[in-house]
């Protein structure tokens, strides 16, 4: 059923025969191989597929290819003139408006059409005008800045250098501490950056999975005969065809089968996989697979799941469906509460949220004739995928090559080995052909691994002056069907409370409970946002009880440098106090708190996170980050090979900066190859905010090794002791007389000519023996901790309950910001994502465990129109364990947000909402109840 379409794309005429069901997006990507236009949702909700049709921005996923017959289409590939970027692209690159870059092509096309209609848009025009283009990374702030800059450029105005005050710790540095555009930004701005789904191999097959329609059922029989007979189907596998091995994330809880063996445990559990010539055939084949189920009673509520007699998800383990139990007691909780003048206990409830990266997961596997397999995948952690595949396939690491392509955002959703990675390899092996597998947006939600919903009973005791004497927390985590990261989540939910405020006595009880829902996993701030929301909320409630200023009670208890917490965590640098003071000042706190008119309010929250986990997920002695630097024989360029993964957060750029600083070269002389298991040494990847500190230290060390080799050479060449020579800005010079120098490349060339390849290697392992000796003491350990404070101002429509966040003023102690532009981008993104989770996001299921909102139409995330003004500050700080004093910011920055918003709402309308998300309905109900009680 093919028809001919004549179409003009970027000025070229094409004549294409295409199936009637193809969309314009399919035509561009699959037929014309113009992969710059992205598929984010396929349902018209995300805008990633935006192209211009006769000058108007349209979602190409909702235009039939046949409807584009005779039309003029413009895509991202047509925007730049050769190597010369369009003003919009240039501005996006310079302003840091591009992180993962997956939204970027669509965003730029939309901006282009918007500026055509309205060459001088106001900020409000931009907020509404870009609201059809979702971005999960940037929080939109830098995108607005970029458009404003583009408007200037289009009017012929020159580039404005922005002034900024470097941190004290960066004053003497020449590459670190600079606001540099990301290395990959130009490729992402032009649609040239390749994501996994953009790759196709000759003779490549597609794979799709059959998902359970039942929340809990025994599989009595599977018949694939009819499906196998369908023309185009190459292979079908079920549980019987895969090894009898379980896998997962933490070795203590490997509990997932590759394909369901005997039963399914949630709607979405994977039962079978099919490989066929195209996705259309896969879908048809899936419908032909016949399965007989015996439906089992299911349980969706963690409290019901724990009750005696509840249906069990696993017969052989997890009694009462309790998948993980943590019982921690530090100090003396009874004594602590006895010392308190005031004690308050409240129940808080979190929400089930999903990372919603703009790029759906995708993997492509291909075996060669020597028994080696190559996997291209959209992952945050090449190494764990690598390790896990070696276990599952029972072949050595060396026979598997895992390549991370560009990743369109992860936030935890891509932090573990996923089913596409495993199944594409099995299907590729069986068929002898490359196999591509990708999730639809709906499949992403069903596969799950989002945030655990937590039920938190929190009790805090304080002295009259607000000093915390004791904290008791009981948390029940809704785990879903499998473990995923859940063990770690359960520990984090407890351990991280103790890193922000000083308190001597702490009791934590955590229960992670299995339910017949998609598994919960690790999501930005891993396990901590809900407890932090509870803590920051309760602290405000206590401050109110005692008539204390919420800022004062925080300052009273704020963590200080070089502190050993009650749960044996060691804090090095800590500038929480200056963060709090900074936001108090900037927000005009004193004139606003309690003084704004009804409906307006202000609130504060604090947060912080680890800069990388102190221990790996599975025990190994390998350094956590490793780097190799290879210098070109003429010294003109340097390549950094690093195993850690840039998933959009910008780590390639940051690590290159750390390495360049150590090498003494300018930033334009370094490039990065990352996250390819054949080319780069092992690195634990992008999770637990580890890359800046750990990858940064490894990169710095590799750079120093090269520098030291060259210093010896330079000393010979210059005839002066190496101790008297410095290296910076591509020169070796006499420290006391900088005008006497030789060039970096001269020294490097000389070295190479004499001694062969000039390389450096660096590695980083966290200090040995971090943390206490109790069970679970490893979780929460880190070489360094970040700190943040945020003040939020809101407007609440007290007749509808609707909240509009107007401002965030936040301050961050991330040590030395290696790239302040990047830090701001992380911080903006964290704030808007945190706001979105606090106000909008929630996964909802029906009585049979089927998700009711598995799409971006009904699972709402913040759009540009919801974005408040964000004013962030990076405070002066230096972390001794970090490269050039740096530590993390990406996760910690999201943690203050939830509590700050809840506190601001309370200030605005006098109601305290303790259950996330804070919807207008909950607020209005609380207002009504409150008015009723008066």
């Amino acid at each position: 059923m093919k028809q001919i379409v004549n179409i003009n794309v970027n000025g070229l005429d094409y004549e294409v025969a295409i199936r009637t069901g193809a969309t314009l997006l399919d035509l561009l990507r699959d037929e014309l191989k113009l992969t710059g236009t992205k598929r984010g949702c396929d349902h018209g909700d995300c805008g990633a597929c935006t192209v211009l049709m006769n000058g108007k921005a349209v979602n190409s996923c909702l235009v039939l290819a046949l409807e584009a017959d005779g039309q003029k289409i413009e895509t991202i590939e047509g925007v730049a003139k050769g190597e010369e970027l369009h003003a919009i692209q240039q501005a996006f690159v310079e302003k840091g408006a591009i992180q993962c870059g997956f939204c970027t092509p669509g965003m730029i096309m939309r901006v282009k059409s918007l500026l055509n209609d309205n060459p001088e848009p106001t900020l409000d025009d931009l907020k509404t005008g870009l609201s059809g283009n979702l971005c999960r990374c940037t929080g939109y702030v830098k995108i607005f800045e970029a458009v404003e800059t583009a408007v200037d450029y289009l009017k012929g105005k020159p580039r404005k250098e922005i002034e900024y005050q470097p941190q004290k710790s960066a004053i003497d540095l020449s590459v670190v501490g600079k606001r540099l555009p990301k290395l990959d930004a130009p490729d992402k701005a032009t649609g040239r950056a390749i994501y996994t789904d953009d790759i196709s191999f000759p003779n490549m097959l597609f794979g799709k999975t059959l998902l359970s329609p039942h929340a809990h059922a025994k599989i009595l029989s599977i018949n694939t005969e009819k499906a196998k007979a369908l023309p185009g189907v190459k292979h079908i596998i079920t549980g019987a065809d895969v090894p009898d091995i379980t896998y997962g994330t933490s070795p203590a809880r490997y509990d997932e089968n590759i394909l369901a063996k005997d039963k399914v445990r949630y709607v979405g559990d994977v039962i079978a996989a099919v490989a066929a010539v195209d996705e259309e055939t896969c879908y048809k084949a899936l419908k032909l697979i016949e399965i007989e189920y015996e439906i089992l009673p299911a349980v969706f509520d963690p409290f019901e799941a724990m009750a005696e007699g509840a249906p069990r998800l696993f017969e052989d383990k997890y009694p009462n469906n309790i998948n993980t139990h943590v019982d921690h007691h530090f100090g003396d909780i009874d004594k602590g509460f006895a010392e308190a003048d005031h004690i308050r206990e409240e129940r808080f409830v979190g929400n089930r949220t999903y990372q919603s990266p703009l790029e759906p997961h995708c993997a492509i596997a291909e075996w060669d004739r020597h028994g080696r397999v190559t996997l291209h995948t959209s992952t945050q952690v090449v190494h764990y995928v690598h390790h896990q595949l070696s276990r599952i396939l029972d072949i050595p690491l060396g026979d598997i090559r895992v390549i991370m392509t560009n990743v369109g955002g992860g936030f935890g959703a891509k932090a573990a080995t996923n089913i596409l990675e495993v199944l594409s390899i099995f299907l590729a092996k069986k068929t002898g052909q490359a196999v591509k597998m990708r999730f639809s947006r709906e499949e992403m939600y069903l596969y799950g691994r989002g945030r655990h919903k937590q039920f938190i009973d929190l009790k805090i005791g304080v002295k009259k002056d607000g000093e915390i004497t004791a904290v008791k927390q009981k948390v029940v985590l809704e785990g879903g069907a499998y473990s995923s990261f859940g063990v770690v989540t359960t520990y984090y939910a407890g351990s991280m409370l103790a890193t922000l405020y000083k308190f001597p006595n702490y009791k934590y009880d955590g229960y992670r409970v299995n339910t017949n829902l998609p598994p919960s996993g690790a999501f930005r701030g891993h396990g901590v946002p809900h407890p932090r929301f509870a803590f920051e909320s309760l602290l405000d409630m206590i401050a109110k009880d005692l008539n204390l200023d919420p800022v004062e009670i925080r300052l009273k208890n704020a963590m200080e440098p070089n502190y050993h917490t009650c749960n044996d965590l060691d804090i090095n640098s800590c500038e929480l106090t200056s963060c709090i003071e900074s936001v108090r000042e900037k927000s005009g706190w004193k004139d606003k708190k309690g003084k704004l008119p009804y409906g307006r309010g202000i609130g504060i929250g604090c947060g912080g996170f680890v800069s990388g986990a102190g221990y790996p997920i599975y025990r190994s002695q390998f350094p956590h980050s490793n780097a190799i630097i290879k210098v070109q024989e003429d010294g003109s360029k340097v390549v950094l090979f690093i195993g850690d993964a840039d998933i959009g957060q910008g780590s390639d750029t940051v690590l290159a900066q750390a390495a360049a600083e150590a090498l003494g070269i300018s930033f334009d002389r370094i490039s990065v190859v990352s996250a390819d298991s054949d080319l780069t040494p092992i690195g634990f990847g992008a999770y637990s905010s580890r890359v800046t500190l750990m990858g940064g230290n490894a990169s710095k060390m590799a750079g120093e090794q090269v520098r030291d080799k060259l210093l010896v050479k330079a000393s010979q060449m210059m005839g002066i002791e190496k101790e008297k020579i410095s290296v910076k800005n591509n020169r070796f010079f006499i420290t006391t007389n900088p005008e006497t120098f030789i060039s970096w490349e001269q020294v490097a060339t000389e070295y190479f000519s004499e001694s062969g390849p000039l390389i450096g290697a660096g590695h980083y392992s966290p200090p040995k023996g971090l943390g206490g000796t109790y069970k679970g003491a490893a979780v929460g350990t880190s070489p360094a901790y970040s700190f943040s404070a945020s003040v939020c101002e809101v407007e609440v429509d007290f007749e509808t309950g609707k909240v509009k966040v107007l401002n965030f003023w936040d301050a961050h102690d991330c040590g030395t910001a290696i790239n302040p532009l990047n830090v701001e981008g992380q911080v903006d993104g964290a704030a808007v994502m945190g706001m979105s989770e606090t106000l909008f996001e929630n996964e909802v299921f029906d009585k049979s465990g089927r998700m009711l909102n598995p799409d971006l139409h009904n699972y709402l995330i913040a759009t540009s129109a919801d974005t408040p003004e964000i004013n962030s500050t990076i405070v002066d700080s230096f972390e001794p364990a970090g490269p050039y004093g740096a530590k993390e910011v990406g996760e910690g920055a999201s943690l203050p947000i939830l509590g700050a918003i809840a506190n601001a709402i309370e200030d605005a309308v006098g109601v305290r909402i303790k259950e996330l998300p804070i919807t207008p309905e909950k607020i209005l109900k609380a207002i009504k109840e409150k008015n009723h009680n008066y």
Binding site: G21, K56, L62, L64
Partner: protein
């Protein structure tokens, strides 16, 4: 999911459309496709898709002395840009600018919005507040009905399978007419209505001579709130003030005329609360506009 294949037809005239409708079964008429394609991606099966986009007579905005006519394939964006609409039906511009995203408005159409007939459709309440009618045609003739008679239930219209919506007909409002549309969604943009209200008022001698109060997303179709309308007709403007007793009564009546359900966007009770608030806002805003 992937869009399945179908027979695709691209008629150029209405007569060709009638022919196709007369000779084919299981036909989906497609204007912008923003609803239809999503439905099909989610599993709706259609053997035939008839694109209306080459039928130029369906893509016109025109007027005569008494009416404005909008063709069913006119996009939201065309409405936003139309001088005729700007002149006579300005509130429709305000209304459609609250629908979907800019990209959706560039392809989505009023005809599609009305015919998809989702209870949460945003264009219908405003059109009904203007007393709009629709023209439905087929090879056997043309009929003209009130828009309220088109929309039978959530996703069900009174258009038979041999017919096509050929015009939306909006009476040109008299100078004494004023209107307002209020939408309540859960985020600032691109959100589905939790509730919406369109109010149309005819004002004579500082009194409401006639009125429409139409609520969306709170019943299987957008509905006219008859008891509320009875209360407001003949009311003195001076009695319709913020927090006035009458205004509150009208808001209460509006809410009790609706029949909302609980869903992921809000409970029935909450919807009623919202309707009360936005009804008041819509009435006050329209009176305000009128006074200016």
């Amino acid at each position: 999911m992937l869009l399945p294949n179908f027979n695709y037809h691209k008629p150029k005239t209405l007569t060709e459309v009638y022919n196709l409708l007369d000779t084919h079964n299981n036909v989906g008429l497609m204007a912008g496709g923003t609803d239809l394609l999503v439905e099909m991606k989610m599993g709706r099966k259609l053997e035939n898709v008839v694109s209306l986009n080459m039928v130029s007579e369906l893509n016109e905005i025109s007027e005569d002395t008494d009416f404005v006519f909008i063709g069913p394939t006119v996009t939201f964006r065309q409405i936003q840009d139309s001088p005729i609409i700007q002149k006579y039906i300005p509130h429709l511009i305000d209304t459609v600018s609250k629908i979907g995203s800019p990209q959706i408005r560039n392809t989505g159409t009023v005809g599609g919005n009305v015919c998809t007939c989702a209870s949460c459709s945003d264009s219908a309440p405003t059109l009904i507040a203007y007393n709009s009618e629709v023209e439905i045609s087929s090879s056997t003739g043309i009929r003209r009905i009130n828009l309220t008679d088109l929309q039978l239930f959530h996703r069900k219209t009174s258009i038979s399978k041999r017919e096509v919506l050929s015009k939306i007909i909006i009476p040109k409002p008299k100078p004494n007419f004023t209107a307002n549309f209020q939408k309540f969604g859960l985020r600032e943009s691109a959100s589905i209505s939790v509730g919406s209200v369109a109010v149309g008022l005819w004002i004579e001698n500082s009194q409401i001579a006639d009125a429409n109060i139409v609520v969306g997303a709170c019943a299987p179709t957008p509905i006219k709130c008859n008891s509320a309308m009875q209360l407001i007709i003949n009311a003195k403007l001076s009695d319709l003030q913020k927090d006035s007793i009458l205004l509150n009564e009208i808001a209460e009546a509006t809410a009790s005329d609706t029949n909302p359900i609980d869903d992921i966007r809000g409970s029935a009770d909450y919807r009623k609360d919202i309707i009360k608030t936005i009804t008041k806002r819509a009435i006050l805003n329209s009176i305000n506009d009128f006074n200016q």
